[in-house]
Symmetry: C2
Subunit: 406 residues, 2 copies
């Protein structure tokens, strides 16, 4: 009766477990480990990637929840459709029209368990082991993780000030069939870079000549400090763009609501993958979110978030300008939640991380954002989940660490 496994040969050294080969290729979250270290309340952390909890409208969500649950309509707690609550999908479609002039039908929208799940579903639907996937360099670590489960070959494309390097992308796409190019055109995580309008067009021209799909992760498009929206890649590549969106940054991350926009023939297959994955997304949350969007003015709420984030971002930039050694390069985001630092060659961001932690400030070394082992001199700073006081104190401490090291 006693299990025999412990004495057998292993492929992972643990009790004879034979895990799938994909698990060896999926990086354990380095960030998650770092965040554990920085949980000490005496540490000022710019290492995480959380929205500012003070800007979550808990009163509005409370009212929406009370309304949804107040009508003795038990269907709000029952199983529901895989695609998601239709009125919520209609709201999202209408918002694309109003905000970006983009034509999207509700049938092209699937509600997901946060936008991270979009990446899981896209990976499932498109990536066979050994398939080629192009990604920004640096690229979003959550996408690297989700896609890694399907064992692709990554082709990093340098992300410059105006967006991904077009020559490098053309070169990558020319040499092999690439299933997906994954990018974050608006206020990218981790770099804070926004693609310029001409660069978007240039990228679309290159991709339009191939069979590659552009996966446009737009988690930060609404967190736009100027309020001026740049075109979605779907405008140029309607049949080759998959957009992923999220309520996490504008409503509440804990409700785990995101969505994916895809052309009908892709949507049909995404829905099958979604159903096999978890039947459907949290229906109560969908109903509460929709009720919230009916009862409150989401535009006012987003403006409020943007005002705070913009102030905090500019304060952080000013501290960099005033206090950092001149050889530290930094991005100036137009939105989102992150600033990206490039230290002079030879300065290790892991060393900087360790020294900064001793001084009571946490930053995030940039290496997990590289699929090719680079980025050892880069650092991500988060300005959203902070206060002006914390930014001043934390950046003062951090500048001293940098000045000592450099």
């Amino acid at each position: 009766m006693s299990p025999q496994v412990s004495s057998e040969t292993t492929n992972d050294g643990k009790r004879g477990r034979h895990f799938a080969s994909r698990m060896e290729k999926t990086p354990k979250s380095f960030i998650r480990e770092i965040l554990k270290v920085t949980e000490n309340p005496s540490i000022i952390s710019f290492a995480g990637g959380l929205p500012n909890p003070g800007l979550i409208d808990i009163q509005g969500i409370r009212l929406a929840a009370a309304t949804v649950l107040g009508q003795d309509d038990r269907s709000v707690l029952q199983y529901s459709t895989t695609e998601g609550y239709l009125p919520l999908r209609q709201f999202i479609a209408e918002r694309y029209r109003k905000r970006l002039g983009l034509s999207v039908s509700p049938e092209e929208i699937l509600i997901t368990n946060g936008s991270q799940q979009c990446l899981d579903l896209i990976g499932k639907v498109f990536i066979d082991k050994g398939d080629h996937v192009a990604i920004e360099r640096p690229g979003y670590v959550g996408a690297i993780q989700a896609f890694s489960l399907h064992e692709p070959v990554f082709h990093p494309v340098s992300l410059n000030e105006d967006g991904p390097d077009p020559l490098m992308l053309a070169n990558v796409l020319e040499k092999r069939p690439v299933k997906l190019f994954y990018g974050v055109p608006n206020s990218q995580n981790p770099s804070g870079i926004t693609y310029t309008s001409p660069r978007r067009l240039e990228l679309a021209t290159i991709i339009g000549n191939t069979n590659t799909l552009f996966v446009e992760d737009d988690a930060y498009g609404e967190l736009n400090f100027s309020g001026k929206n740049l075109p979605s890649m779907r405008e140029f590549l309607p049949d080759q763009t998959i957009i992923t969106g999220s309520f996490s940054k504008i409503l509440a991350p804990g409700m785990r609501l995101g969505w994916v926009v895809a052309p009908p023939d892709v949507m049909e297959v995404l829905v099958i993958a979604k159903q096999a994955s978890d039947l459907h997304s949290n229906y109560l949350s969908q109903r509460i979110a929709y009720q919230y969007l009916q009862q409150q003015n989401i535009d006012d709420h987003i403006r409020k978030i943007c005002t705070v984030y913009k102030t905090q971002c500019h304060l952080m930039i000013n501290m960099i300008r005033e206090k950092f050694p001149g050889s530290v390069l930094y991005t100036v985001p137009e939105g989102g939640m992150f600033i990206w630092l490039t230290l002079p060659d030879g300065i290790s961001s892991t060393r900087v991380f360790e020294d900064a932690l001793k001084e009571g400030v946490a930053v995030l070394p940039g290496t997990p954002f590289y699929t090719d082992g680079g980025g050892g001199n880069t650092i991500r700073l988060n300005f959203s989940n902070s206060t002006e006081q914390k930014i001043m104190t934390g950046m003062e401490r951090f500048s001293q660490v940098l000045r000592t090291l450099m």
Copy 2:
């Protein structure tokens, strides 16, 4: 600029999309298509698999939501840990101890987006393309779908009155390394069969001599009409059992809360897969569920559900006994939500389905529950999402269809 894809060669006939090969092997939900047909309110449906919405305690959930959202604690809406809310995991662990005398630590529990997601995560973590997976025949269609994404070879093991056929299982496990045996020991979906205690021990003895993991789907263990609990496979195979559990049948499916119990070394890898899949499960729902479990008596609530389901089940069984042709075989469930019919050879359940629909009653043909194309003379009946009146009228109609056909 215009996309070139439409003129290229295809692997699926649609606009040059090159989907991953796994998507060709993942069955589109036949059940989902059938349920669309049966949405007509004039049809009495025994085809679905929903809990009875009238037994969802919306008042209790409303109170729990108001409590959780009433404290201006925005952390209930923020990002949270991948493993899930610790007090909820502690509650689940303690319930295993009280209900089954089973020792489970909270660290061995991961909260998932319904128990369907457990199957997705288990598939990700264990199944490489071509790996061998044993499954009950008939087996739960959601597991067939979730595992199919990872392209295993299925080995069906006949499910008899006392549980899976032990000789057949031994034979399957002897001939090849089998990664997983997936089974539903309590009130199985679709058959309603509960493994006997001696059969559990017998299966454990066979599996204990191999490297195979027993995936024990226990979605229905709490819906036990007698209140007498049979031992979990984990009692016999502590290091070789993964249990999946669900709040969908005892609290509310729309909150999408399930959990997986696994030994620590497996849990470590499941957590990585979970994080890559969707970061973490809906945190607001976790907090509301935990609050509900503190404020209400879940045992009383479960007893109430069981009383109704038992009455409805027995009524359906009595109708079968009184009205059906004697050659129709049926199971007599000890719990759960389903009764399983086996028609005489040569009677097609698809034909029965079509004829029944014309008479205003929907039943579910059993073929989607077979990985080997069998089951063409089987039918699943759901008794949970019904009323006594509907069961009497619907079963009367259905018996006439059967008598006419046979």
